[in-house]
């Protein structure tokens, strides 16, 4: 319900992070990712951030070289999801400090942990950056 999947894809179409909240086989995932990314990459700046694909909507935004795509149900508030994407980016920025694509790639687990704190089972859990980052910071200190 709500969010179906979250993807981070770079401009060449390579997936940097993928989190699915519903079950799809590997082939389905790759096909889906390919289709959606092609659609989003083809759009320009002036066009709106919402794309309709099959029975869900994709809300996307480009930050530097990375596209953040979130697939949602038809009933979800799209503007809120846009805000959520921004929140995610800000959280990662706070943790990694000037986050870039390479940070996400080389610290994939941390990115996943952060995302997990924020979204569970397709619903937004936590929106406070401090609360999200505290367990992760604890873990870093302990290891």
């Amino acid at each position: 319900m709500g969010i179906r999947f979250i993807l981070m894809v770079n401009k060449q179409g390579q997936t940097r992070l993928a989190q699915y909240y519903e079950y799809l086989t590997l082939e389905e995932r790759r096909a889906l990712e390919g289709e959606i990314v092609r659609k989003c990459l083809a759009r320009n700046e002036q066009q709106c951030s919402f794309v309709e694909h099959r029975n869900y909507k994709i809300v996307y935004r480009r930050y530097a070289s990375l596209f953040f795509l979130v697939g949602v149900d038809n009933e979800e508030n799209e503007l809120a999801i846009l805000e959520f994407i921004h929140l995610l980016v800000e959280t990662m920025d706070r943790h990694f400090g000037n986050v870039c694509e390479l940070d996400i790639m080389f610290h994939l687990e941390k990115a996943h942990f952060m995302l997990e704190e924020m979204v569970m089972n397709g619903c937004i859990v936590e929106t406070s950056k401090a609360n999200i980052l505290s367990p992760i910071q604890l873990m870093d200190k302990a290891s």
């Binding site: 066009q47 709106c48 508030n77 503007l79 846009l82 994939l108 996943h112 997990e116 619903c123 936590e126």
Partner: protein, 876 residues
């Protein structure tokens, strides 16, 4: 330690993969790593498990199969250290899903972790459970989760709340247990817990009606208060997003209020104030503010009627529509679709803006706007709206054209005030986007055209003009060709001019030109070209001066490699050359197609077998759908007075001819009629080469139009040396056919001779030949007479190639069975018998009369004898 174990760190592996230039290289690297990981797993390598799993996750993200790593996850989860558990759970969630049986094994680990002292581990377990638990796991672990809903740590509470959502979704029966705890969550201060608590309540309301009731009664006021607090709260750095405190919470609250207020007046009343406050006070220059406003409008639209609020909402939407930000406009269009149901007046005010959006450069906005416009159409604005849409059709993208065309056509169909306007609009759409027009649409158009009899002239002239310029649009060509065929003489004669028309001179040969161009055009498909042939046939009757030219064109298609065109060409050519007298009756004007039955049939979407719908395929056994065979049969049904429906499909005919089950004597005369007519036709085809074409009665010819198709195939199947039905079929072939048919001779229906008997009659007598008729009738059927003709040779020479032909006036129907032989021995040593059947539609008023013609060869010399039989008994 294995020296080849995955000594590479995650980051090195990633670097290696990134350095690959081709996909094959990448696959090689990944394969190597996977092999190393598998080796490490099988050795139960403790040290690098963490790293291996991280690598596996990366590989999985790239899209390679990684199921060998699943047991590793389990082992990691079971280990005591936090980092291992962490990565184990992460791997669990990424690499597995709820359908795998491996998941069951984790249940125990999760259970233990849920009771762990370290709250972070509890959090981990809850997270994992919340993301992928299955129904059985949910049932097992529900009590644990319930307990955790009241845990001291808010983080755990919030995770437990989300976990409960999943549990409740998987096992709806457990919903009751969670209602009370959920209600208490709503009183929390911690935003995270509040957020998830609200989410839980919303889902509970959706799943269980009693939960809905409970929350409505108890919690609505509390929720309103919470929303008020949040909206009025001072700056809170933690949850602040661009100046607004926790917009996510706002939105979730509004959503829950929506669910609670829907359908319930009291709840809606209590919400009115806060909704008004949120709607007016929220700043809309930031996205966060707009998100809240959007949700607010959505809620206002859903809860019970409140005029003031509704007006407020529509105003907000209007503001959104004129915003320059595409996202906002998109969202507004979306919302307006729902608003239309409630207050269409308000939405009509924004019609102009919406029309602009249809032409926007952004595909998503265009789509939404088009749907909205479709909902907005009513009788008063249909003309202007359609004009705009059609203008846009010209310049729109190809992907969009299909949608746009479909919408325009349905708007026009539903709301057209008068026929001429409907036809005009369709005439504009067809040249621009004919290829996107669906079949039902142009069928409906034809139905309307036939009904608008005063507009026929106008229609056909307009179509002619359009065809000159846009000859590649399939549908346009089909409709135009059909109309020119039907109303050709109006086109040429400028009949029925309307006031606003310019006169146009079209000669007959121009009209024929147009159709010939269409038929030669290779980009048009088979059905269209078949229709062109049909139209040419019609024109050959209506424009006698062009008949020869049309005939030449049709002859050209007799050698076409396409079966459909070839068959049609042959049949039509035959009609033109040999059957001039019936041709005009054959191609008379189509009757007015009944719109009611057509639309009823269309709604039922049953392909009509015969009559009306032109596009309905006729289901013939040779499997080729012949769309416009239907009108042909239709015309036949109409123009022949006595309809002995030749709808016994060719299948029966095939069946009969191959002699499998010869119809028993008790079969209907109608069935035999078909059978005989079939064999007659067969004879007909074969004897085409002989100068004396055997003439059958007109009714035969008409009804055989249907079965003509099958004989062609039968000839093919029999592999007779005549090959494709060409004009000159060798006598060898015909004699073999004759034999087969002769085999049928005795099978043809033997009429029971228990009717009134009639004296036999010498129909014709000359110095060399005598023809005797013996009559019989079936008791219940006074109109039909069975005649057995006997031919006796009076001369000393034998006759060969003996052929008997007969012609009867219109009110009679004649059937000839094959003769017993075609050699007549000399001097009455033998005789030829042939059975005829006569059906008199004017039985009692007119008696039978017949012209006969006998041809034979005597000493290699052809002889022809003719006569008229007038002396039939009166009461026959």
């Amino acid at each position: 330690m294995n020296p080849f174990s995955s000594g590479t760190r995650l980051r090195d592996m990633i670097r290696a993969i990134r350095a690959c230039k081709t996909a094959a290289e990448e696959r090689a690297v990944v394969r190597k790593e996977c092999a190393a990981i598998r080796a490490a797993i099988s050795e139960n390598d403790q040290d690098y498990r963490h790293r291996n799993l991280a690598k596996l996750m990366f590989i999985h993200m790239l899209g390679y199969p990684t199921h060998f790593g699943q047991m590793e996850c389990l082992k990691l989860i079971a280990s005591p250290g936090f980092p291992e558990k962490r990565i184990g759970y992460l791997g669990l969630m990424l690499l597995l899903d709820e359908r795998q049986e491996v998941l069951m094994l984790v249940t125990n680990s999760i259970k233990q972790d849920l009771s762990h002292t370290n709250q972070y581990i509890v959090g981990l377990a809850l997270c994992a459970l919340g993301n992928i638990c299955s129904a059985e796991m949910a049932r097992d672990l529900a009590p644990e989760v319930e307990r955790l809903l009241q845990f001291r740590d808010p983080n755990i509470r919030k995770k437990a709340a989300l976990c409960s959502i999943r549990i409740v979704k998987k096992v709806p029966d457990l919903a009751e247990n969670f209602i009370n705890p959920a209600a208490s969550l709503l009183k929390e201060k911690h935003h995270g817990v509040l957020l998830t608590g609200i989410q839980l309540c919303t889902d509970l309301c959706n799943i269980s009606a009693e939960a809905l009731e409970y929350f409505r009664k108890k919690c609505t006021d509390g929720l309103v208060k919470v929303l008020k607090d949040v909206a009025n709260s001072p700056y809170a750095p933690e949850y602040d997003v661009s100046g607004i405190a926790d917009p996510f919470l706002h939105i979730k609250l509004l959503k829950l209020l929506r669910v609670l207020g829907q359908g319930d007046a009291d709840a809606s009343d209590s919400m009115n104030d806060i909704l008004a406050q949120v709607a007016t006070k929220t700043e809309s220059n930031k996205n966060a503010g707009n998100a809240i406003l959007y949700e607010c409008v959505s809620t206002i639209m859903t809860i019970e009627e409140n005029g003031g609020l509704r007006v407020l909402a529509v105003n907000i939407l209007g503001r959104f529509l004129s915003s320059r930000d595409n996202n906002i406009r998109y969202v507004a269009l979306n919302m307006l679709m729902k608003a239309i149901a409630l207050d269409s007046q308000a939405v009509q005010r924004h019609r102009a803006t919406i029309l602009e959006c249809v032409k926007d450069s952004d595909a998503s906005i265009r789509k939404r706007a088009l749907e909205l416009v479709y909902l907005l159409v009513n009788e008063s604005n249909v003309k202007s709206l359609t004009k705009e849409l059609i203008d846009y059709l010209e310049i729109s993208d190809p992907e969009f054209k299909g949608d746009l065309t479909a919408k325009i056509c349905s708007i026009v169909e539903k709301f057209s005030p008068e026929k001429i306007w409907y036809i005009d609009q369709m005439l504009k759409v067809l040249p621009k986007a004919g290829n996107y027009v669906k079949d039902e649409v142009w069928h409906a158009l034809i139905v309307v055209i036939t009904n608008a009899s005063d507009l026929h002239g106008y229609i056909v002239r307009s179509l002619y003009r359009e065809l000159q310029t846009a000859g590649e649009q399939e549908t346009l060509v089909r409709v135009a060709v059909w109309c020119i065929g039907e109303y050709g003489e109006m086109l040429v004669g400028n009949a029925g001019m309307l006031n606003q028309e310019d006169p146009i001179t079209v000669t007959e040969s121009d009209a024929v030109d147009v159709i010939e161009t269409a038929i030669k055009c290779h980009s048009l498909d088979l059905a269209t070209r078949a229709m062109c042939l049909m139209a040419l046939l019609k024109l050959s009757s209506r424009f006698p001066s062009c008949s020869q030219r049309i005939n030449d064109t049709i002859i050209h298609y007799k050698e076409s490699l396409v079966l459909e065109l070839q068959q049609r060409a042959i049949e039509f050519n035959y009609i033109i050359e040999k059957h001039q007298n019936i041709r005009s009756a054959l191609v008379e004007r189509m009757p007015v197609l009944d719109e009611a039955t057509y639309s009823g049939r269309r709604a039922g979407s049953v392909p009509a077998a015969v009559s009306t719908s032109q596009g309905a395929p006729l289901n013939l056994p040779n499997g080729v759908a012949k769309p416009t065979a239907a009108p042909l049969v239709d015309l036949l049904d109409l123009s022949s007075d006595e309809v002995s429906a030749p709808s016994s499909s060719g299948g029966d005919f095939l069946h009969d001819l191959f002699g499998v089950d010869l119809p028993p004597a008790s079969s209907q005369p109608g069935g035999n009629h078909a059978q005989k007519s079939g064999t007659d036709v067969l004879l007909d085809l074969l004897s085409i080469g002989t100068p004396l074409a055997q003439s059958t009665s007109m009714a035969d010819m008409l009804s055989s139009g249907d079965e003509n198709k099958s004989p062609a195939d039968i000839l093919d199947k029999l592999g007779s040396p005549s090959g494709p039905p060409s004009q000159a079929s060798p006598p060898v072939g015909s004699s073999s056919m004759m034999d087969l048919l002769d085999g049928f001779g005795p099978v043809s229906s033997v009429p029971e001779n228990n009717g009134p008997t009639y004296p036999s009659l010498v129909a014709f007598e000359s110095s060399s030949l005598r023809v005797t008729f013996n009559f019989s009738k079936q008791p219940g059927n006074p109109q039909t007479t069975y005649v057995e003709a006997q031919f006796v040779n009076k001369s000393p020479n034998a006759y060969s190639n003996f052929v008997f032909q007969a012609a009867v006036p219109k009110f009679l129907q004649l059937h000839l069975d094959p003769a017993s032989s075609n050699t007549l021995p000399a001097s009455g040593n033998g005789s030829i018998t042939q059975k005829l059947r006569l059906k008199n539609s004017q039985h009692g008023k007119k008696s039978l009369v017949m012209r006969i013609r006998i041809g034979y060869k005597i000493n290699d010399k052809d002889v022809l004898e003719e006569g008229q039989v007038n002396n039939f008994p009166r009461d026959l």
